[in-house]
């Protein structure tokens, strides 16, 4: 029997945009156990409900994370709207859906770029991020911001999108789809890429379900669980099936995410076709009183927003459960028995967003 040694991985590591620490217990080149520790970028944003009133809190919620910022604003607003029994106009719902899907496109493209960079395919990484820039441009044109959008508010959205711009989006999305077809080929067919991804970090459906994983990480193991199916926003009106893959390895996760980008394009096109006219917001009267749990599907998986209000301007408690936190246990499971060289890729395949996790 060989001796065991512990290799610290992170909090600073080339594949990690954000700090997470893993203690890798090694037996020769194999990982026997991984012990994660988080808490490097806790900012205490949830506690800010004491200082910001429920309308201003949307801006704080958006700043939980830079990639899923739209989803956080959306989840928080929807939770407060449910407490206050506000019926959001359907145009606002459709625009929220378009923006959510657009943020899924840019989040997944960012992840694909990071993955390409992790296995050393630099030109592919650049291509992914160049394509992502198109999504960011669409965000900037429609919301005014590239990363933090500030368009969500309790009771609707803050900015309307003109019909000409929506038509323009349609064209741009078709163009993006063509470009993505070219980029997806090396990810799915290239032999060198497949040797790095196939059979690496297999998570079976039973394990994924038992560990409570979420998002593409879960669906790649063959479980069709997608919170968009519950039909919040305008998802009830559009046709889509949760995308699943059965292998449960890193390749399946990549495939799942690439297919989800195509699906997001499809959902955006459906929304533009069905876009209703009308108001974009309703006036908010009174103060929230009650509690609600809102679940939405972020690009990384299911996120849960718990809001408890007491009838005053300030909310009692706001809590966010993010998909990365749910996926960490799955990550630890996949790391067992893998090679040290595969650890960076496996850490990436859960699409870690540590800022969300620690808030």
């Amino acid at each position: 029997m060989s001796t065991r040694s512990v290799i610290p991985f992170g909090p600073q590591h080339p594949v990690l945009p954000e700090p997470i620490h893993l203690d890798l217990v090694m037996e020769d080149e194999k990982v026997v156990e991984a012990i994660p520790s988080i808490g490097f970028i806790h900012r205490g944003l949830e506690k800010l409900v004491d200082k910001k009133d429920f309308n201003e809190m949307v801006y704080v919620a958006e700043r939980i994370c830079g990639i899923c910022s739209l989803g956080h604003g959306l989840g928080y607003s929807e939770a407060v709207e449910h407490i206050m029994d506000i019926d959001v106009p359907s145009r606002a719902k459709y625009l929220r859906t378009i923006w959510s899907e657009l943020s899924r496109v840019h989040s997944h493209l960012l992840w694909l770029g990071l993955l390409a960079d992790a296995f050393g395919f630099e030109s592919l990484y650049m291509e992914c991020w160049r394509l992502r820039e198109e999504a960011l441009d669409m965000f900037e044109a429609s919301t005014g911001g590239r990363v933090i959008f500030s368009v969500m508010k309790v009771g609707g959205i803050r900015r309307d999108v003109s019909d000409e711009m929506l038509k323009d989006f349609y064209q741009r999305i078709n163009k993006m789809e063509e470009q993505l077809n070219t980029i997806a080929k090396p990810f799915l067919n290239d032999m060198a890429v497949q040797t790095r991804l196939r059979g690496v970090g297999v998570l079976t459906a039973e394990q994924a379900d038992a560990l409570g994983c979420a998002g593409p990480f879960l669906r790649a193991s063959g479980i069709a669980r997608d919170i968009r199916s519950t039909g919040y926003c305008a998802y009830g009106d559009v046709d889509f099936e949760p995308i699943i893959s059965t292998e449960g390895d890193s390749y399946a996760r990549t495939e799942c995410r690439i297919k989800e980008i195509f699906q997001a394009f499809d959902i955006i096109r459906q929304c533009i076709d069905k876009m209703p006219a009308g108001d974009i917001d309703v006036p908010v009267k009174g103060m929230p009183n009650g509690e609600y749990v809102m679940r939405i599907e972020q690009p990384r998986g299911e996120a849960i927003y718990y809001v408890k209000a007491n009838g005053s301007k300030f909310i009692d408690r706001m809590r966010v459960r993010t998909p990365t936190f749910a996926n960490l246990s799955g990550l630890v499971e996949t790391l067992k028995g893998c090679d040290l060289a595969d650890v960076p890729i496996l850490v990436l395949t859960i699409d870690p967003c540590i800022s969300c996790t620690e808030r």
């Binding site: 910001k52 441009d137 900037e140 044109a141 911001g145 500030s150 900015r159």
Partner: protein, 166 residues
């Protein structure tokens, strides 16, 4: 086959335009870059400072200044949306980076001060006239007070009241 694909890509890259962009960014209309205030229009009502979620804006009525801390501003556009005089607007260019937390202070222009004073003077005169008319009506007996002079100054008086309240 691989060689044909390879050559196709090389040829395509030789004739196609560069994929990179110019360093000078083109901002689409509606970019939230930074907050600008037209001090000729500003009446220092202070609504922007109330609505600002980060309290980046302060309005000093005595000094007649409007100041913003750009490092605290989050470009949410709340102040611009709530400006009654449309003196605030969103500039396209992103805020410049800096090493110091500065406060940018703008003084209300002479033109705006003169306009506001004229407005307040007119409102006061009208209020006085209305009061005099009311007193005259009361003196004249129980004839109903004329509605017209009371209603006419309502709008400007409201505006000045708002300014005093903030």
């Amino acid at each position: 086959m691989a060689l044909i694909n390879f050559n196709k890509t090389v040829l395509h890259n030789l004739v196609s335009k560069p994929k990179t962009r110019k360093a000078e960014k083109e901002y689409p209309v509606g970019t939230r870059g930074h907050v600008e205030n037209d001090m000729d229009l500003c009446i220092l009502c202070g609504l922007c400072s109330i609505k600002c979620p980060t309290h980046a804006i302060t309005v000093d009525k005595n000094e007649k200044t409007w100041s913003i801390r750009p490092m605290s501003c989050i470009q949410c556009r709340c102040c611009v949306d709530n400006c009654p005089k449309k003196s605030l607007s969103m500039g396209l260019r992103f805020q410049e980076p800096g090493t110091e937390k500065v406060t940018k202070t703008f003084k209300q222009s002479e033109k705006a001060i003169a306009a506001q004073e004229a407005l307040m003077k007119a409102a006061k005169e009208r209020a006085a006239a209305a009061a005099a008319a009311k007193a005259a009506a009361a003196n004249a007996g129980n004839t109903p007070a004329p509605a017209a002079p009371e209603k006419a100054p309502a709008a400007p008086a409201q505006a000045t009241q708002d300014q005093n309240k903030e």
